[in-house]
């Protein structure tokens, strides 16, 4: 895994993390390099603890590529978040991106996915499925 470089650490993070009710909403503004992804993960996990978030929504609508490292990071992040008590939903995957990921066999399993913010909030608020059970298979 790449180390977080001192120089890149000074750059502003190209992800905004906003609070919405009991959830955190993280939006990617542009593609992140690996170092930025790791910084984002640390920042998000800090905030989950600080704000006692129950849900995390990660919006990737601005990304036209989700490579294997990004998928891996998102999966790992969701697992850590779950251990800290928050369910993660990835939203806004573009059609082309979704199909490219399916073709390459890179999945986000077991992370939940939803079409957009509204669907994700709906999923988090009305989820009668306990965390850890994959209900995206229906």
């Amino acid at each position: 895994m790449p180390d977080v470089d001192e120089d890149t650490a000074q750059e502003p993070l190209r992800v905004s993390i906003l609070r919405h009710g009991g959830h955190l909403v993280a939006s990617f503004h542009s593609a992140l390099d690996d170092g930025q992804l790791l910084r984002f993960r640390k920042e998000l996990l800090d905030q989950i603890g600080r704000y006692r978030a129950q849900g995390v929504i990660i919006d990737v609508a601005a990304l036209d590529v989700l490579d294997s490292f990004a998928c891996h990071t998102l999966r790992a992040l969701a697992q850590v978040a779950r251990l800290r008590g928050a369910e993660t939903v990835v939203v806004g995957i573009q059609p082309d991106v979704a199909f490219a990921m399916a073709r390459l066999g890179s999945t986000l399993h077991p992370v939940l996915t939803a079409l957009d913010l509204e669907a994700a909030l709906d999923l988090l608020d009305h989820s009668d499925v306990p965390a850890g059970v994959d209900h995206s298979t229906w």
């Binding site: 059609p95 199909f99 990921m101």
Partner: protein, 308 residues
């Protein structure tokens, strides 16, 4: 095939432009003879045109068009033909030929007819040159040397333009057919159905995926029912593609229910080792829609009146 004809056309184009630009450098013979030839053809326009029209009628070409239409097209083709001989540039002729093709293709005019009439004109004009120069064999040879390459180029240009136009029409129709072949329909809020009928080949499977993923976003769908009752069998790449489509839909937040799997397709899916836990399949479309409604929280109740 396409590329080759394009190249031929391209090189002709260059040749045509060069001959326009470098007209003075044409062989002295041609430079002298072509204008004479053109003058001859212009002078005898009416008779030659009539002769040509008769030959077309005798050969039963262009039978889909009325005599009046044939006459007017014949006139413009003749004039264009002579103009090309005069200027050496096929650019205008090509445009005219495309335009003509656009008009006559819907009438059911075949390629052999178009090529046939141009070759007939070539013969009619050549015959008239024979008559004119029959006393001087040497001169006749030189006249034909000047005439033949130009005439061949014209025949080539017309035929290529016609075929290109035809191919364009076919491409357009194929596109339209593809668009129609995979409808994505919304039956309830957040519920799409995608009935597939006919042969599911690789190209169609790709197009299906593309349309489905876009429709999921457009209709904000949460459940999609793909009904493949009308598909008899698929090969392994297409089966794999279907599985990938299910995965991709799920990444976009929509669950997929597949209905109407034939036993052949079911066997193919098992053969390629699909993780069946990921596939939600229901026997028929009705069952699939009912399952989807259940997932979305719809409940369909029959009123008492309607039951009677």
């Amino acid at each position: 095939m396409n590329g080759t004809s394009g190249e031929i056309e391209e090189s002709e184009d260059v040749a045509a432009q060069q001959s326009v630009a470098d007209r003075p450098e044409r062989p002295a013979d041609q430079a002298e003879l072509l204008p004479e030839l053109v003058a001859h053809l212009q002078k005898n326009r009416s008779e030659l045109r009539q002769e040509w029209t008769n030959r077309i009628t005798d050969a039963h070409l262009l039978s889909a068009m009325t005599p009046h239409e044939v006459f007017s097209e014949v006139t413009s083709v003749y004039d264009n033909y002579v103009a090309v001989l005069e200027t050496g540039s096929v650019v205008e002729l090509r445009e005219y030929a495309r335009d003509l093709s656009e008009r006559i293709i819907p009438r059911g005019v075949e390629t052999h007819e178009v090529v046939g009439i141009v070759l007939l004109l070539r013969d009619v004009l050549a015959r008239s040159l024979f008559e004119k120069y029959q006393d001087d064999f040497d001169l006749l040879t030189r006249v034909l040397d000047a005439y033949e390459p130009a005439a061949n180029r014209i025949a080539n240009t017309v035929a290529v333009s016609f075929v290109e136009e035809r191919e364009r029409v076919i491409r357009e129709q194929a596109d339209a057919l593809r668009e129609l072949s995979t409808p994505v329909l919304q039956v309830r809020e957040r519920l799409l159905i995608l009935p597939i009928i006919g042969v599911l080949d690789n190209a169609r499977a790709h197009q299906l995926t593309d349309q489905l993923l876009r429709a999921i976003r457009k209709h904000r769908a949460r459940v999609v029912v793909i009904d493949i009752t009308g598909v008899a069998d698929v090969d392994e790449p297409v089966a794999n593609h279907l599985v990938q489509t299910v995965d991709a839909s799920r990444l976009m937040g929509a669950g997929v229910i597949i209905t109407g799997l034939s036993s052949e397709i079911a066997q193919t899916l098992v053969t390629i080792g699909v993780d069946l836990g990921k596939m939600n399949t229901v026997g028929d479309l009705q069952g699939g829609i009912e399952e989807a409604e259940r997932l979305l929280g719809f409940k369909v109740i029959r009123t008492d009146d309607a039951g009677r």
